[in-house]
């Protein structure tokens, strides 16, 4: 028996697989395809203080082995999410991670404070890296001092474990990780999307109405693996890894690089059953490469 369980701050996961924030809404749609209790956890779509309507359309574009998105944090606001979405997820036997977003430190604090009031949310994911909000979202994610500050404030505002989501659009990912570790982050989630752009030739305009969007999918996997590996060497807090995962072999690659658990985003779109499929395939892949549990594989890349 291959042991898939993973224990992380605030999260007892039956397996290391979960949908990435923003790619799974609040679970309702994919619950038509399978029982969400199969999942290790669900990472909810970003929540802000008030309702947001997001960016104009088109909001997505396809790229080679990837996609761009600029949804722009469309969400009904934290209060409505707690009232209408969290109870839906509480019906399932899976951990719930709330993605906390905002334009100001105060807004982050407000959202975190609100989520603190429900026991059906098990951890917070601090989205300091969403590249699509003009009012400063990106700065939190690329300036270590600002990242530290917002992490400290959110830690104060909440008793829940805080996982900080790192942006890959930085010169030095290790500096970012260390800053938030120092600020008391309980864990890291990485990577968010890389900022990209695509032009539509007939109109000479960006394909994404917001001009730029975040690049996700298999195209960015080597960058995710590199960053997770670098951060694993330099910090001690757990990492939930993501960025281009498509196969159970990819999951193992993330574990070896140093991720304790993984999230799948873009791959849900092409295959709505990807998560249950990966969960059922992972034991065989672990066995094939000589592991008897997920825990055992974490950080086991041999690098001299």
């Amino acid at each position: 028996m291959i042991d898939l369980q993973v224990e992380l701050p605030g999260l007892k996961l039956k397996n290391p697989l979960m949908p990435a924030s923003g790619c799974f809404g609040f679970g309702r749609e994919y619950s038509k395809f399978y029982d969400l209790s199969l999942l290790g956890a669900v990472m909810m779509k970003a929540a802000t203080g008030e309702e947001r309507s997001g960016n104009p359309t088109p909001r997505v574009a396809e790229t080679s082995s990837g996609m761009l998105n600029a949804i722009g944090l469309q969400n009904p606001g934290v209060a409505k999410i707690i009232k209408e979405e969290v109870p839906f997820l509480a019906n399932y036997d899976t951990a719930v991670i709330a993605n906390v977003a905002g334009s100001t430190v105060e807004e982050y604090e407000e959202v975190a404070t609100k989520f603190n009031q429900t026991s059906d949310v098990h951890a917070l994911e601090l989205n300091i890296s969403c590249p699509n909000v003009k009012e400063g979202g990106i700065q939190f994610g690329t300036d270590p001092e600002m990242a530290k500050h917002v992490t400290e404030k959110v830690k104060q505002a909440s008793n829940k474990p805080v996982y900080v989501k790192l942006s890959p659009n930085v010169s030095n990912i290790v500096a970012m990780a260390k800053a938030v570790e120092e600020a008391g982050a309980d864990g890291l989630t990485m990577i968010n999307t890389l900022t990209g752009m695509q032009l539509h030739l007939p109109s000479r305009r960006p394909l994404i109405a917001n001009k730029t969007g975040g690049l996700s999918g298999p195209a960015i996997k080597p960058i995710a693996i590199r960053m997770i590996y670098e951060v694993r060497q330099a910090t001690n807090i757990p990492i939930i890894g993501m960025g281009g995962i498509q196969t159970a072999e990819d999951v193992l690659e993330f574990l070896l690089a140093g991720a304790n658990a993984v999230a799948v985003g873009t791959a849900n779109f092409q295959n709505p059953l990807i998560l249950p499929e990966l969960i059922s395939e992972l034991p065989e892949v672990l066995r094939k490469y000589g592991f008897s549990s997920v825990k055992e594989a974490v950080g086991k890349a041999v690098i001299e």
């Binding site: 790619c23 799974f24 809404g25 994919y30 395809f33 997505v60 998105n69 779109f269």
Partner: protein
Amino acid sequence: MKNTENEGWKNMRKVKMKLLEIREIAKDTIEMKLTDNYITEVAKPGQFISIALPNYTLPRPISIANIDRDKQELTLLFKIMGKGTNELAGFIPGAEIDCFGPNGNSFPLMSGEMTKVLLIGGGIGVPPLYYLGKQLKKQGIKVVSILGFQSSENVFYEKEFARLGETFIVTDDGSYGMKGFVTDAVTSVPSFNAYYACGPTGMLRALTTQLHNKTGYISLEERMGCTVGACAACVIPTTEGGYKKICHDGPVFAAEEVIL
């Protein structure tokens, strides 16, 4: 009238469909017949399916153009627009295609309330109207169709629609049927209870303005991520305020419900 009670997407499943026939029915326009025992059983007119092509990141949404339940046969009509549709057009009979669906809501049929309806299709917006028209006719409703195309080489399914009822073909350049836009042809249909339209946004905008005092349903398109309602890529602003998701709350909307 709202269509939110109409939650066809609750039946979504991932399936493999087997390609039975494929042929070019007009310039760059492909008709595919596929077989599958699930979607052909549950899908309704106006719904679409998502096609997952190997080596592409995003699924391709394609409307259901027809279903033969007895034969478990589903028809898709699509135009070669880019890489994905080009690749799809190269599949050969026997190929298995990864799909999921049926996605989205469907056209409200409102049996009993109507005696005559107008179907208005523009270009590659024509396909979903065919299955709709067949269902309407089956219910004894009189169907009149106006189909607009760029040019004679783009015209398809004229005979099929003619079998459903009176059919007007309109081409931008007048090379076939009437010259002009579908909006011109609409004036030649004296009376009808409701209209159903699908086509480019410009056409739908003109139509819904022209027919603002009629009951109408329009089927919309937008670039999509998940095609199931999870990613909020494919939104459309509503007259009530806020956004609806085309893949999930649509693609069919009451004409007055959305802001084009």
